[in-house]
Symmetry: T
Subunit: 147 residues, 12 copies
């Protein structure tokens, strides 16, 4: 059974308690649950790693090389500054999806540039909790296209 790695970056563990007018009332567990359900419905396994440490996210991508079919990453604030994550994603051969709960382009100027976007296959942003399920479906569609 193929595996999808779902990564959650800094501060995303606070979903549900942090700025709910932006991120909504749902917790990260709710969102990961949706992602897992979508994956398992399509016959995929989903692993989830959340960390506030850039290095942990890079490590997790490395460990997924050759083992996972795809990486979905909501890098939080690291989206806008982490070239290390961008390099790690570039070194991962598989489908790579950038995910955001809010629509960063409708917020502060610094959220409008993603340094990881040039390294990914596609982007899903702005759909709130539903984005987790949609990103999994998009990932699986790409995986099956590529077969």
């Amino acid at each position: 059974m193929a595996t999808i790695l779902l990564l959650s970056g800094p501060n995303l563990n606070l979903f549900g308690t942090r700025e709910p007018e932006i991120y909504g009332p749902d917790t990260l567990d709710d969102m990961v649950g949706d992602a897992r359900d979508a994956a398992s419905k399509a016959g995929y396994d989903l692993e989830h790693v959340q960390s506030n440490h850039e290095g942990d996210l890079v490590d997790a991508i490395h460990e997924a090389r050759g083992r996972c079919a795809a990486v979905i990453v909501n890098a939080g604030a690291l989206t806008h500054s982490s070239y290390a994550l961008a390099d790690a994603l570039a070194a991962f051969d598989g489908v790579k999806v950038e995910l955001h709960v809010s629509n960063p382009s409708a917020r502060e100027a610094w959220r409008q540039t993603s340094v990881i976007a040039p390294s990914v296959t596609g982007v899903v942003a702005g759909f709130g909790r539903a984005g987790y399920r949609l990103a999994v479906e998009a990932t699986i569609t790409k995986l099956e296209d590529e077969r």
Copy 2:
């Protein structure tokens, strides 16, 4: 039956014949067909307008006000310069999704800024032909969330 307006901007009528290494082998009709199927499967109607004229796209959004539940827009090159489209989208009360077949962030510098992104609900980019179906599903998810 609620209606979703799908807009295709300049040069998208060339899908399938234009730079297939970037945009893939499928035609716009193929893509719109997928979108229509996804909509109808969920009980929605999908209208499609393609134009190389910014004004036609603005007109279509205006005509959709109060009549359509959502707009999905692949604005092509206008994504990066049309404030008129951005204003038209801002004046549309409903779900608004920005769609791209390729991942613009992995291409020329000028494709990395979307002037319409601040006016939309969410973005789906980089999933090729599959993006059309995914954008419809994302749109419908948001419409049903908001009920």
Copy 3:
């Protein structure tokens, strides 16, 4: 009887229904009516063209050459990007007034640069519906100064 051409750019047909907290409750018809009244009170004819198409606005300015004494243009979002309009205005020999209902300088950064401003005689901005009447009066004052 001398004629003044009044041009309304993209999305201005939505006045009264679009973001009323910015643009107020009045319709474009209300505003054009005020402009026409002000013109006719001073013995001038006023023609109005609204279009969401840049090309239509350029065409209208061309058709006014040698036939109209002045052009008043509220170019909407095209104010900030249309060098074609700027060139068309530069090629019109007569009084040219840039008009805005809101005060663009108090809004988003991209609304703070007008690419047509270097081609006009003067600017009237921020006076809401009243701006239409004021722009006509300003135009007529300039026309009569120049005699």
Copy 4:
């Protein structure tokens, strides 16, 4: 009888003698006279303060708080650099109009940014001497709209 404060910034006392090809042949007294006539015709009092000192202009706005209904300011070169004036205008509750005799956007690059524009109600620029009368009329229109 409600009062309008008219402020003239640095170098405007030279109108009529300074670069007449840009500013025209009329003196500041001529222009203020026109403004006063327009005000008094509508039942308003007009006070005028000219100074080459930024601090005097700020002081005058402060003294007008609670006493005057509106401020019209032609800040001259301070338009482009005086955040102190911008803050003083922001602290004035009433109609605030930015006025220019020439059209700054058609001149040097540094004249194309107004740091006070985000603090005003509206702008009247480029109508030469007539701008003084027009600015008063625009001001009064706004005052009467707000009643």
Copy 5:
């Protein structure tokens, strides 16, 4: 007989009457006539489309795909902002020449960047009316080189 499409963008229909100190006394008909003569002398057909609408120019390039051997485009002010034209030219397989009557680099700053230049084969600028004939000759030279 191979065909060359000649496109003229916004405001170029005014040649001969607009700013003759920049564009010279000749009309667009004069210039197109020269181009047609140069083409026919070399055994080529020349079609001409002028429009103030970006969309019409994009449409014309699309209709020329597979039917015309080359496109010569004087895009006027759209040269400096139309990514849609740039994309349309990129999707045209053939010789593509950017043409200007004046030398844009010797004029305003915004005329010094051509967003379509990266999509063309070559550029001919600054030779006034003669540029039309020269652009046709350059185009034919390239067409014959490529055989």
Copy 6:
């Protein structure tokens, strides 16, 4: 008894009446009173100068040279543009503290650069009325450290 000069720049005389949601309900007199109490409790004299004139603030710093032990300056909007104040502070040998009632970094972009900051010993910002007392205490701590 050593003396501390407290300077208040343009518009600060309006504290308590100007944008109370930003600056709070307290008047400048309240704030200066707090500062004076803090100074006198530690055996220091405090002089206060408020002016809307940059030149007055520069003059006051000059007059303090050799006479006062420290300068605390809330330069208001001049913080962001007055190189003359920066030079005056650089020429003052003693403790120099930059003070703000609000946190300028959380406001408009232009408030995020202080041109006087490179000339001061330290900064106290964002503590509202309490900042006056804290700045005096910080100043006295530095004065006593340097003995």
Copy 7:
């Protein structure tokens, strides 16, 4: 007894041995000791965390949510690049103070922009070792103001 969290970012563990001409001869222990004394004198508890890992600082802020009344953060070099810290501070409901031993504005250009400043209540910078005590006093003042 209410608790204040004091955070020290990368390289601050070197105080006393690193560039003493900039940071002074005192160790971080000396500084934290001062902060703890000031807190306990006012009846507050102070916890201190130092780490060279951005993720540890984010974790510590998360763990303080709902448990600590305030956070004082000297983020060292992360001040200028860590949007993750900025987001963590934004998600902390309480008093947040940015602290620096030196005056960053008087040093290299990159030290003049704080990306965390928009997320804090206030800033204390440039007072050397004394800044620790002053920041605690400022924090407590704000806490007591808000009761």
Copy 8:
């Protein structure tokens, strides 16, 4: 006897006591004395105005119009920000010389742009006290050239 106006801007009254490693040991009186001697040796009168107020410098230039043959201005820090001074100099018909004691281009970045330089005849910078005499000689040379 023709008169030359010598203007000294903010902080220049501190020459001799302020940063002598940059400005040297001589006082402004020494420098003005040299300038006066040079003027009188050539049969010219020299008036001197020093002020820390931008408005006073503008006023002085206005008062010199039609009365003085030339203005020499060492605007101090206002050199780099005062468009009001630039406009006042532009409105003065005569020789205008910008003078600096130090070489601003060898100092901070903000001292490398002079906003008044486009309005002057010539510049003398970097010669210390001797610059005053040299600027007077340069001014007189130009005055006599123009006769």
Copy 9:
């Protein structure tokens, strides 16, 4: 017989051996031969100077003043940095044509700005070897237009 000076800047002597995928297989001699033929066919003499030294190119333009009717310059990399060449061309009274074998706008960013373009009559770029003949023809057309 009128003379045209053809200048070739740094590295152009390598044509035919340097990056043939960009510059093609032809040598500079081939290209100059074509240019000479085109000139002589029209009754003009063509002189050619190639140098890797900016100063030699400036010298050659000086020596052409009053002796040659036109200068055609392919300045190579100096196109993008040599203000000295720009000044030399500005001081040459005659037709001046900027020539490039490749289309610089389709290459690195630094090749997209020509500092000499504001000093020339016209530009011919992107036509490979054929550009030499076309530039001569364009030059002669301009020379004969101006008679």
Copy 10:
């Protein structure tokens, strides 16, 4: 026996498997082996730390203070963003060498600025695997120069 610390930043553990067309076929172990051999041949000990965590790299530099004679750092993507590393290196008294396997200046724009370069003694970049040996030799040369 003196010790050299060799640091490898994020993603460098992937050498040999990641983008071999850029980084070559050799593993990090191969490279570190070469470095160790070069060190030991000269009588030096070499310690190696690889981490994807910025904090670990900072910690390692701290632990090397007073214990190691030199630090060689290939910071990977952190080269371009980590001011914390720059500060840690600045606080290390000894030889500090920045090392890159590829030549970052020939790659993406963001790889062309090194924020750590101002803190190091020297740079060795672009020599592939051989760079490790060369950096060690360069380091030892500097260490022996300084004796």
Copy 11:
């Protein structure tokens, strides 16, 4: 007898024939003659080198090291781009004066930055032919001050 080296950069040999409305009617010989007279009147020798080659100017400065007391350089267009000249001047121990006939700040944007200015003692600009004599006098004054 001490020697002053006067350097004239590219295109200055054209003085008197090039753009006389900017540079005046006098030749370089006239100007150098004035400089020589001024030098010899004060007991100094003046050598003059004009070249259109940057390298010649650098060579001349090198040859003047230890032999000449001062260098006066009018670098023409190289003023704005030649870091090699800036470095050569920095390596010359003596008085160094930057000279311009026109006032570059009143011309094109690129003439407003001098890359050599940070390496010189002082600047004399805008005095036309008289600048040569004034620069020599300024140089000698500095030389005699430094004795």
Copy 12:
């Protein structure tokens, strides 16, 4: 015996006498001697060209094509501006090494961008005199790798 060309750009002939605190006490002859020794020890010939003329350096690279195996270039100030050198290096097929005695990134801002770096194989910077030997060793290592 294979030959390495060593190029020294403007002002490098002054090593040993110019700013020894930056460049050290050794002469260029010392450094070239070290380079020659290192080359001959490995069985290579080393030729050295020093010139203050950009054109000479370009000429030397051209003459080395097909004759030398590698070029080592310390371009001095031309590093930061000479696109002609960059193009010449790009046209040289062989190992190309950029060498600096100091670490340019630790100096003025303009020294932090190398326009030739994208054209070279590798960079050695900051090792003082030792850099010459190290660059030769690095060059030979690359040459032997490529066999």
